[in-house]
Symmetry: C2
Subunit: 385 residues, 2 copies
Amino acid sequence: MSTTIATSHNFPPAPPRNKRLSIGIIGSGNWGTAIAKICGENARAHGNHFRSKVRMWVFEEEIEYKGEKRKLTEIFNETHENVKYLPGIPCPSNILAIPDVREVTRKSDVLVFVVPHQFVDRVCEQMKGFVRPNAVAISCIKGVAVNKQGVKLYSEYITERLGIYCGVLSGANVANEVAREDFCETTIGYNPDLGTSVSAEMMVALFDRPYFSVAAVKDVAGVALGGALKNIVSMAVGFADGLEWGGNTKSAIMRRGLLEMQKFATMFFDSDPRTMVEQSCGIADLVTSCLGGRNNRCAEAFVKTGKSLQQLEKELLGGQVLQGAATAADVHELLTSRDLVKEFPLFTTVYRIAYEGMKPEGMIQVLQPPVEESENEFTTETNDD
Amino acid sequence: MSTTIATSHNFPPAPPRNKRLSIGIIGSGNWGTAIAKICGENARAHGNHFRSKVRMWVFEEEIEYKGEKRKLTEIFNETHENVKYLPGIPCPSNILAIPDVREVTRKSDVLVFVVPHQFVDRVCEQMKGFVRPNAVAISCIKGVAVNKQGVKLYSEYITERLGIYCGVLSGANVANEVAREDFCETTIGYNPDLGTSVSAEMMVALFDRPYFSVAAVKDVAGVALGGALKNIVSMAVGFADGLEWGGNTKSAIMRRGLLEMQKFATMFFDSDPRTMVEQSCGIADLVTSCLGGRNNRCAEAFVKTGKSLQQLEKELLGGQVLQGAATAADVHELLTSRDLVKEFPLFTTVYRIAYEGMKPEGMIQVLQPPVEESENEFTTETNDD
């Protein structure tokens, strides 16, 4: 754990009372509301550090509630429950749902991004010009943008668009389990050396809860890539499940996959190799996904039913894109353009099985490099001692 | 994978024909016979490197076979099948079962130990005085001997007793899956710097098969400790299974457990921290065990049924000792005597749950260190912005 720079053991000194930080949550879906709940609880618990009121931007919708059409923000501010995206989970009353993203932006020192990645662009466009000069951001958006040109983290994107530092939060965190306060861990990638006004310790204090254990590392890229690349590997394990391969084989796939994740992060970024194999954002997130995440389940069904991925996306994911397959395709495009396909045999195999009709059984040949026999081997039995 | 010193990619140059190595297998149980099968196949495949005949020491028994009492060695040498300990698996005909361990010892350059750990002492006693001067050994014995005095690897024990170098083989290897040729990986800990006459590449050539992928590292202690300590962690995950905790929590336990395994290995030995988190003997063996190994299943039943471990050992393991519990007790004794209990909270918790009546639910407090609140925190709601 030598990469960790802050945990709840390093509780930060409180700033002067007029410098306490205001928190704004950009997003209010299932994961967004769970994150808002955490920040709301900590804003209350650490009144010396944070202002109590936590603003949550909610994309306004009219919904049917107790027999009448009402605005989602109004219902939330009255009931302290996101009845549409996280029903059944009471949130602290210091969270205020606000339909105007500019208002949230204008009043926040820490901006927590939890929107689906396809909305980042549009949201940043609306926020521009309203960001406080010393504000910092943290991205809880899973995934990275990969194409032929290279890999871009959403945190980098937010920095470019808004001109503020942006860290990343990612780990073995299934939103509903976090909302129910089942214990889990997470990792914050946050590099205070890059001139941010908020320390890593403050970031840990904002997110760490008794049921949500946070460790901070400087390696932002490693944290972001863990959450994206693990989906490729959990598809590989799903194929193995579909073939009913044993535990030995599946753990070998996970291990090889984790090392390809590590290699990718260190090849394309200045990532610390320990992040992937030691922190929650790497090994733990991978294990959770392989124990029955959606990529895993779809890949298993792909092998067992012979249906296409598009068909399974419709049937099992309600039409949502299967992240592991999409990421495998993006990564494959990048690797092909850089002539690096051979360096990532497992990633490549997932792409080929998903898109090029390769038989899943072929994964074995990929795991086992061919033995290079020396010339002139005796291969017949001899009776010598 | 930067710790790896040899894989099947580094096929060794063949020695002069009269220097080819003779292989002896010490042990013939379920795992012993699976290992003998592998060595037998490779002795045939690499006739430039190994002598074809592989001698397997079999503790002689008379068994009922096809209606008559016969010797196990005779049946094996006739049928090439270990009908008692690995029935249904044909072995190569170049493996010769021999009831006299001294004969096997006398004729072998490489001695592969695959006996239950409680027999190592007795077997070494019988072998003494018959070992070839340049012989080397490799131990496939799972576990380590831990007590108040410290930790001793069985490989160290073999070196002391027989005066020859001894490496270790360990990985995510369920014997029956290996025997059926389901793909898996393994790790050899073997340090050629310590003046052995046989290279690491030769050791890889002896064990690597298309279905059994071998990587060699110099870190013998890390390899041996992985196979022993993972049993403690898989009990912790079994307790979590019994409590029906979610995937987030279980993967957090595995991650924390893996880091305690790494810490233990680096604290008590000069182990490379990467071995545990990157090689099959660490992370992969742990994952396999947590996906339903015997420690995992017994710990789950312990929580769900409320029965004692002794009772469950009888019911689920046919009276065999539950390795995870025994290792947790041995490790706890050592940690107590060195005042290191606090450094290994998860290991300690498994011990306390198994032996001291601690409630399994208490594992949560262990995973989450208490937040150190700063003095004078406001914890009441304020209306400030």
